[in-house]
Symmetry: C2
DNA sequence: ATTCTTATGATACGACCGTTCAACAGTGGA
DNA sequence: TCCACTGTTGAACGGTCGTATCATAAGAAT
């Protein structure tokens, strides 16, 4: 019995370990919903000991808030990446159904989180901030398109309805993926804007069957 | 110390007590989401002892399935009451936003349940059956309206999109009721069908505060 | 009255929950 | 080489989880 002892564990910066725990939390949510979002599951998933969540996030709920923020940030990174010009409507629609965000794991995570927002003040706080940001981006795109066509409309209201429609399509897909194809969902959004603004240019429809780009 | 002893508890038929437990379960879901759906909470809410859920429903999960079925049945009772003729599209839309189903408690319950469907086979089974029933009703209404106008379209696909849209509006309302009025939600559905079928007669619009966009 | 059925209350059980905390050990700078 | 810093461990805590069990009693049948 020699002692092949290396370090018994690896030390990470607070920020790196935090990211690892967030990632583990996401995995748990995707696998088993909010019920599976437990300290035991998360730390096992992250190969960390049970004290770490409290240490880095103050509480399990703190981690959950961070997880939620991460989901929103990732969505924003696809929809309106920093450094790019403001997205137009077509870009917004396409990003909405980009496989990077419109995929089974993500949809299940959103479902789990939506069910918690109403009951979790900390989560609700995170939501309010991010949702309004997103809404503002959509609203600007709607207003720009409307102005380009000389149409007058309530851009904020249209933005709310678009977000509702696309969340609804996400929801349907998250509950039962056999009901709706990505293309049908995308088309529904374009139709929505068509009826509000008149026909919209639809950029390079991703071909239906082949493995998705991105 | 006299003994004013009446019966120490009241016996109910299995079916009555079952209904009481379902009701209590709904109350717990509305109050605290799936996290609050616990044996302790539910039995306290129903003024019953902790053994009753297992006794009447086999398990807590059995009760949850019954709760989900109840939600669907109540929705169906508003949307397509038995004994009435098949609802047309306008009836369907209006029923969707009837206060009997479009109210804060119901929406929070739906949110909580949606988050569980993906992770709960028993719940998923209940969902599949009821969802397909509902979809068929919508599909018939769409097909009837299309035929009356001599239009050709994929009624099933349109039905899926309508359900997605209205679920999305419910979702938005459930998460933050300040974003969307009932009237705006209703109008959005009518606009959807307008764009698919041409202008639809809108029966007795409940007073619109502001002429809705879209 | 008496019997029978079965809904009910009460408790016990092992498992897991989230949090706390003192001791430990990896790591970078002295 | 040693030290100080701090990320990390792992046990322990009180509480709650869902379920199984059994004696009890309500209420109908006789």
């Amino acid at each position: 019995m020699t002692k092949p002892e290396g370090p018994r564990y690896r030390r990470y910066s607070s920020e790196t370990r935090g990211a690892m725990l967030v990632e583990a939390g996401l995995a748990c949510l995707a696998r088993g919903g909010i019920t599976a979002f437990t300290v035991d599951n998360i730390c096992r998933e992250a190969n960390a000991s049970r004290g770490l969540i409290t240490h880095h996030f103050g509480s399990k709920n703190g981690l959950l808030a961070a997880v939620y923020a991460t989901m929103y940030d990732r969505f924003t990174a696809v929809v309106a990446p920093e450094g790019r010009p403001e997205p137009d409507l077509a870009t917004l629609v396409d990003a909405n159904f980009d496989p990077a965000v419109f995929n089974p794991d993500s949809l299940r995570i959103w479902l789990a989180l939506w069910g918690e927002i109403a009951n979790n003040p900390e989560l609700r706080e995170v939501h309010r901030q991010r949702y309004l940001d997103l809404l503002a981006t959509v609203e600007r795109a709607v207003a720009a398109e409307a102005e380009a066509r000389g149409r007058k409309l309530d851009a904020r209201a249209v933005a709310v309805l678009f977000v509702a429609l696309s969340d609804g399509l996400w929801l349907e897909q998250g509950i039962d993926k056999t009901m709706l194809s990505r293309e049908a969902a995308r088309d529904a959004c374009y139709s929505f804007f068509d009826s509000v603004l008149g026909p919209l240019d639809r950029p390079a429809a991703p071909q239906a069957t082949t493995p998705a780009p991105v």
